[in-house]
């Protein structure tokens, strides 16, 4: 009687076991997000599987339409198939997801890229029917879109200059001949050296000044605002000075002296020479530049001399902690004097250089006094030798006397 029951139990157990081998449906199932499109489009499939989109449920059909479950080309490219999106349609296509707050919220991504793009030079030209301008895929790629923090991404901080330079550094780009060497200029700049040689990821690239999705050249009168994002002190003095006043729709801006893309490290001695770029025939203004430089140079020389004396005093050593602090103070004034020079007002610069020079001279004077005190040891030494010789003479007399009494 027991045998059929055992068989029944075995049968149930086998069925249950078989049921467990069927892959469960749900998020744990790893399936190719490219669906069956990859059968005919293997290259695109490989690129897409690497992208940031693939693991997030974006599929080929999300952009291209059609049916990714069919292996029949006719059915797959059937109803709703979009094919290769036209360039002018791409921004709107991407925006269907990326401007959707509901979809972007879980990723904490902004949704204003499309709106920004429409304000950009690229977006406005596109709206006017220029098909050559950059759309989303020109910078981000089409299938292999990577996150910006991925070093391989074309929009990673370190790759942005090359990405922008693909168009803006090329001769193929029409109507921008004066900007053909813009990439080369940037690569020679102090900003690029900070980024690539010193690995300073906060150093500016193209997008830091021109904007990211809303990319545009800064307007006249806006350059100082752009540079002033980082160079706040320079901007403060620049806007308070004479150069900030527009004359005839133009005014000298940061780039007038420092260049726009090939910005070089600021050298104080250029205070003397930069004015000649615009004021070549104007002796009064040229002299003003030379005065700025002279103010700075004489103060810096006094501070350097004082610092050398402090180093000499350290080697003796005499007490210098206080002087170290004062040299540091003088260096702070000197550092402030260079931004102050952007006001092109010698009296503003002198406010700092005079203080720096005063501190330098004061330290020099006090240390020279201490050195003079030390030199007085030498006079004591003369007196000391006088007594030494006297003692030796007396001792010799005693010795001779002892020799005579022998």
């Amino acid at each position: 009687m027991k045998t059929p029951l055992v068989f029944l139990l075995l049968a149930v157990a086998t069925l249950t076991a078989h049921a467990q081998t069927v892959p469960p449906a749900g998020p744990a199932a790893i399936t190719a997000s490219s669906g069956r499109c990859g059968v005919c489009h293997p290259a695109e499939r490989v690129q897409f599987e690497k992208s940031r989109h693939a693991p997030e449920g974006v599929r080929c059909v999300s952009c291209h339409g059609g049916n990714d479950r069919s292996l029949d080309a006719g059915a797959a490219h059937g109803a709703g198939f979009r094919g290769r999106p036209a360039r002018q349609d791409i921004p709107a296509l991407c925006a269907t997801c990326h401007s959707d707050e509901g979809r972007m919220r879980p990723y904490n991504l902004p949704v204003d890229q499309y709106a920004l793009y429409q304000t950009s030079g690229h977006g406005q030209r596109l709206a006017r029917g220029d098909r050559q301008v950059a759309v989303c895929s020109d910078c981000h790629g089409a299938h292999e879109i990577l996150a910006p923090h991925d070093p391989a991404s074309s929009v990673n901080q370190l790759n942005i200059p090359q990405t922008c330079g693909r168009c803006h550094g090329s001769r193929a780009m029409p109507g921008a001949r004066e900007h053909q060497d813009v990439l080369k200029k940037y690569q020679s700049s102090v900003h690029a050296r900070a980024l690539f040689e010193q690995g300073n990821l906060r150093a500016p690239t193209c997008v830091s000044c021109h904007g990211v999705h809303g990319a545009n050249p800064p307007n006249v009168g806006d350059v100082d605002k752009v540079c002033g994002q980082c160079h706040t002190a320079e901007r403060r003095y620049y806007t308070s000075g004479g150069h900030a006043v527009a004359r005839g729709g133009r005014r000298p801006e940061c780039a007038s002296c420092h260049e726009a893309h090939g910005v070089q490290a600021a050298r104080p001695e250029r205070l003397a020479s930069s004015c000649a770029v615009c004021h070549a025939g104007d002796a009064r203004r040229l002299d003003l530049g030379r005065r700025l430089w002279t103010e700075y140079r004489t103060a810096a020389a006094e501070v350097d001399k004082a610092a050398a004396l402090v180093a000499k005093a350290d080697a003796i050593p005499i007490q210098t902690e206080d002087y170290h602090a004062r040299i540091e103070e003088a260096h702070t004034y000197l550092r402030e004097a260079l931004p102050a020079a952007h006001s092109v007002q010698p009296e503003v610069v002198a406010g700092f250089t005079t203080r720096a020079r005063a501190v330098g001279e004061e330290v020099q004077k006090e240390l020279e006094g201490k050195f003079a005190n030390l030199r007085q040891h030498r006079y004591v030494l003369i007196a000391f030798w006088f007594y030494v010789l006297l003692t030796l003479f007396v001792l010799k007399r005693f010795r001779d006397q002892a020799a005579r009494n022998r």
Partner: protein
């Protein structure tokens, strides 16, 4: 039951006699003379006045004269180093954090501290120079031959002790230049076969850190001075057996009274002190900032007496060769009396002198090369 103090001439009263009746002053004086001053035994049974009178009248060779003065200078300098060293130790703190700071406090903030420090620093320089020159003088005069072998060994040992005192002392300031100079010197020492690794082990590794500093400090202020005093004692014990050397021209050999010799020694002391004061005032040794074990300043050389093995270490293909050369030189100097002990003909003596001069010349050339060496 006659007390020793009552055997002498009638008492003149005063504190000397008062003390004489309670303490054997001659014994104390005798103890002191074991470390210098007097070259003959002292009769501790006689009262101290009589002992002093006898000592003062003792005939001695004219010793504060010519190259013989070197031994006296070494003794005086050693005394000065002890006095200044003890004063420095009052304020010095032997840790990497405090060593440079405390040295700077001594030199910069304490009244007269710079003077004590500079005299100690220049004194060490002079002491090394004097003790090396004395060894050369003993070699030149042939004073290693029987029965003076022990004196020669003492001289060699004292040279080693003085050089090691200088080497351990220069690290103590923890100044960046002397620190790296010590590191360069230790590289030479560690290259010595067998002994080098053992020394590195005893020092606590090949990094010059707090362990090395405290060990150097103990060596510098306790062990090495104790050894120096022991060899000084041995030197005078030997001198009392074999007597002072009689090597000068005949007119110098006419003995003088000890009283005259004492005046000469006092004059030497005054002169030496004056020279030290002048050097310390006009050419004070400079500070370069606290040492950083991770930053090597450029142009650092080992101490001058290690330049020759250093250049060998830097330029020979096998690093242990330089250590071997140094070890061989040390043993050759030490064992010199063993194979030159017999009296020799003047010709042979000349050959020995020339051989020594040739070795010295090679050493000097190597030292100059070491001073000009660009480190690889």
């Amino acid at each position: 039951m006659n007390a020793p103090g009552r055997q002498g001439p009638p008492a003149r009263g005063g504190w000397v006699d008062w003390l004489e009746q309670r303490v054997n002053l001659s014994e104390i004086f005798s103890f002191i003379t074991h470390f210098g001053l007097v070259y003959t035994p002292v009769d501790t049974q006689k009262p101290v006045r009589e002992v002093l009178r006898e000592v003062a009248a003792e005939p001695v060779p004219r010793y504060a004269h010519g190259a013989r003065v070197l031994g006296l200078l070494a003794a005086i300098l050693f005394g000065l180093q002890i006095v200044t060293g003890v004063l420095l130790a009052y304020y010095y703190r032997p840790t990497p954090e405090a060593a440079f700071e405390s040295t700077r406090t001594i030199v910069r903030d304490l009244p007269g501290g710079w003077f004590i420090h500079q005299v100690h620093a220049w004194g060490s320089w002079l002491l090394v120079a004097v003790i090396v020159l004395r060894l050369l003088r003993l070699f030149w005069e042939g004073l290693y031959r029987a029965p003076r072998e022990v004196l020669w060994w003492c001289a060699v040992a004292m040279t080693w002790v003085v050089i090691q005192s200088d080497f351990t002392g220069r690290l103590l300031t923890w100044d960046s230049h002397t620190y790296w100079s010590t590191v360069r010197g230790l590289e030479v020492v560690w290259a010595i076969p067998i002994a080098g690794p053992i020394l590195a082990f005893l020092l606590g590794g090949r990094t010059v850190n707090a362990d090395v500093l405290i060990r150097f400090y103990v060596l510098h202020v306790m062990v090495l001075p104790a050894f120096y005093a022991a060899f000084l004692y041995l030197t005078f014990a030997t001198l009392r057996r074999v007597g002072l050397s009689q090597t000068g021209p005949a007119r110098d050999e006419r003995p003088i009274r000890y009283r005259e010799h004492l005046y000469s020694m006092t004059m030497l002391t005054v002169g030496l002190f004056a020279i030290l004061v002048t050097l310390a005032t006009l050419l004070p040794l400079r500070f370069h900032g606290a040492a950083d074990p991770y930053v090597t300043p450029g142009g650092v050389r080992p101490p001058w007496y290690m330049l020759a093995p250093y250049v060998l270490l830097q330029r020979l293909p096998l690093p242990w060769l330089s250590g071997f050369v140094m070890l061989a030189a040390a043993f050759a100097v030490l064992l010199l009396p063993l194979w030159l002990r017999r009296d020799e003909t003047p010709g042979r003596r000349l050959r020995i002198r020339l051989a020594g001069a040739a070795v010295l010349l090679v050493w000097l050339v190597l030292s100059v090369l070491g001073a000009l060496l660009e480190r690889r």
